[in-house]
Amino acid sequence: MRGAGGPVGQTIRWQRILGAGILLVLAWLVVYPNVVVLSDSLFEGGRPTLEAYRTFFTTRSELEALWASVWISLGSVALSALIGVPLALFFHRYEFPGRGVLAALAALPVLLPPLVGVIAFLFLAGESGVLTRSLQALLGLDEPPWRLVGAPAILLVHAYTMYVYFYLFTRAGLARLDEGTLEAAASLGAGRWRTLRTVVLPLLRPALFGAALLVFMTSMASFSAPYVFGGGFRVLTTQIYASKISGALQLALVETVILASVSLAFLWFLRRSEGRRQYAGAGKGVQQARRRIQTRWARVAVTVAGFGAVTVLLLPHLTLVLVSFVPEGAWTTQILPSRYSPDNYAALFRDPELLRPVLNSLQMASLATAANVVFCFLAAYLVVRGRVRGRGLVSALLVLPWALPGTVLAIGLATTFSTHQPLAGRFVLVGTFWILPVAYFIRNTPLVAQAAIASFRQFDPALEEASYSLGAGWGLTMRRIALPLVLPGLAAGGMLAFVSGLGEFVASILLYTPRSRPISIEILAQLRAFDFGAGAALGVILSLLMAAVFGLGGRFVRGGAVPRI
């Protein structure tokens, strides 16, 4: 109880018990694995040593990977902004047929798992992709016009998948913008460009900063794109994977520590440099009527531009759907596959071994999500309504997994839960079914917790007090009042967690067991076996599952409480 006292009796007792339990879980699953990684990186064979650190800082390829992670991330921020911001401004400004649908479609990639996006890109613009071969044939070249490999490829894929953050944040920012300020600028004699530069962009600054931070952290943690397109070019995440696979465990630990430190340092630095700058909306404001284009030719041009931009952005995903109908061996050197059949989908239901990863992912994501929903509901209650000490710590630990790349989490779990030391809180989970649900649970805790916390903040604490004053205890109040009221937000967070668990790849590739391999790993295996159709079909199935979750969820969660990210 803090110095000021608090609610009397039962409630505070429950909060204390709850707080202790939640802190224990967070300390054990979120903090402890990182501590184990750090301490193990400093010891070898029981003796303290900095040998692996010396190796890291004296090996050229290691330092290059570190530098690559940083500059690729900065580059991704710049390129994503370059696509996302103009796109949002365009859809905000102009009215043309199909605008609503296109504006929604442009946000679609946010729902797709990173691996699927990367694979789709491979089918489109990879060495033997549809676009590459088309151009080759068109220009009569002997070689493909480009080889999509290394840093440029990674940057391109990042820009292509991460522009969505800038797009969505900018749109949200524009929606909040008081059009009165724009009219004021115009009345003061500012032209359109001056208004954009001196009013709109500064007011969008918080939104743009949020998007930049998100893209930077996502890019820092990105594994799929560098893994598939990197070739010899390594970033830290793929470097960790390579070290782990080649048995250089000590080095993998050091790389993990470095990646975690760099991520946290950048997060801290960026947050700090932005400070607490906030522009409160100056009131309700008038929504500006969208500009309806007057001349016919201009209208046609704008419409074509809108459709064109969205088509280009969605082309990889369309290619994925196309490839999913290609039977094995039917697409070798042709520009477009010669035959199409629904065989790849039918095979899923014929061959239990093919369906198995789908069932695995469904099962593991369900388990993790169920745990997330219960845990994050209680944690959010404590953070928002609690009157006990340690709430600040709980809320910090709830976001920590977001700041740490999935690779770091996976190495932490792999290191911590590979030995049986019950007294040290370590059990063998590696090699069992349970390791992936645990990993998904940790990865998605920030997402669900933020959703639940936001919902708790939205409803008046007097509702709970009213329940207590009417004689209800803590349990009844939670069940009958708090839970129903936060359910929309909690369900939205749970849906996102479920979807992200379904497509999880980064941590899975370091932790999966063959028996419980998830969809993402199977997609990769099919590609390795050059069965592109089967891989693409799995990618489509995964995307459809996600769409189904949101379709059903959208109906269940009234009022469109589904967060857009």
Binding site: V8, Y468, L470, G471, A472
Partner: protein, 354 residues
């Protein structure tokens, strides 16, 4: 059943919200905690309800110390400022919530819900969604919900402040009739002095966490304990004056004439502050009194109020007067206290510089 606060103190970090508050509310009384925002009245109510626990002192109800009891154990009915109706439950479910929590039988619940709704004139509204109701109806549902559990004590946290003016006055009357009809003890919180007067048997005036005065409305108005209460309760002119040594004590304003004074025994003679309510003053053409000039005149139907600019040794000062008079802005007038009354005086506050 009576409520007692014994020297209750509540701090929030460095701020003392309630300071050594001592109160007794006898059974069946309607007590109002009145004060400006930030005076600690809501904290005091929450201490009674059990949503806050005091740093010192105790809350005693019906002779039993309930300081450590949770709100649900206390079972005091509470009506919240924004009503705190459960938005996901309908009217009937809201009203029956407390009964279900007490595991009342289905038949009893049905009876009591119907009776509660009838009491607040919302018969047949049980299946309505609470959001579909008007503000006044929501307020009555909140009241019905609190009364359904037949609480021994009813706590009301500014429940009328979200209603529009016309509705507020009507609801005020209904609320008082309902509470008095049930014979229930009630503690009501408001910053609105008029509301406090209309509802209360007694009023406790709080300022920065301290109890300044407690008593029936008329006593607060006629015999306020200090200048704060005098100005917070009703319109007040506080005018420097001189208090005589002689008994019975009299007060004069430096001009002709003196008036009977109501001073505490320990008020020293000499310079004092005299409380002159606007309606206690009258305008005269000439004779004993103080000269002033009409600065503003506001006609309000039954009465007319004037603002006079008075000269004085310590600079000009405004005086508010309610009088039947035809004086116009700019007219020179003479003002004096009406005959027959006594004038409440306070010691000149330290540092007033006079």
């Amino acid at each position: 059943m009576s409520l007692e606060l014994r020297e209750v103190t509540k701090r929030f970090d460095d701020v003392v919200a309630v300071r050594e508050l001592a109160l007794e509310v006898p059974a069946g009384e309607f007590l109002t905690l009145l004060g400006p925002s930030g005076c600690g009245k809501t904290t005091a109510l929450r201490l009674i309800a059990g949503f806050e626990s005091p740093d010192a002192g105790s809350v005693v109800f019906d002779g039993r110390d309930v300081t450590r009891d949770s709100p649900q154990r206390r079972g005091f009915g509470m009506v919240f400022q924004n009503y705190a109706l459960f938005p996901h439950l309908d009217v009937g479910e809201n009203v029956s919530y407390g009964l279900r929590a007490r595991r009342a039988s289905a038949a009893e619940i049905a009876d009591r819900v119907a009776a509660s709704l009838r009491r607040v004139n919302l018969e047949g509204y049980g299946a309505r969604a609470v959001q579909a109701l008007s503000g006044g109806q929501q307020q009555r549902v909140a009241l019905a919900r609190a009364l359904a559990i037949e609480p021994p004590l009813l706590l009301l946290d500014e429940p009328l402040s979200n209603l529009d003016a016309a509705l507020r006055e009507q609801t005020r009357r209904e609320l008082r009739d309902l509470v008095k009809g049930l014979g229930i003890t009630a503690v009501f919180v408001t910053h609105d002095q008029e509301e406090a007067f209309a509802l209360s048997d007694r009023i406790a005036v709080l300022e920065t966490g301290r109890l300044r005065q407690i008593g029936p409305p008329e006593e607060l108005y006629r015999r306020p304990a200090d200048p704060f209460v005098a100005t917070f309760v009703g319109r007040a002119n506080l005018v420097p004056a001189t208090l005589s040594e002689s008994r019975p004590r009299r007060v004069d304003f430096g001009g002709e004439g003196s008036w009977a004074a109501d001073a505490d025994d320990d008020t020293p003679s000499g310079p004092v502050l005299a409380l002159l309510r606007p309606e206690d003053l009258e305008l005269t053409g000439a004779g004993a009194g103080l000269p002033g000039v009409v600065r503003d005149r506001r006609f309000a139907g039954a009465t007319t109020s004037f603002v006079l600019r008075m000269g004085g040794s310590d600079g000009p000062r405004d005086l508010e007067v309610i009088a039947e008079d035809r004086a116009r802005v700019g007219d020179a007038v003479t003002v004096r206290p009406r005959e027959g009354g006594t004038i409440r005086v306070f010691p000149m506050p330290a540092g007033a510089g006079r």
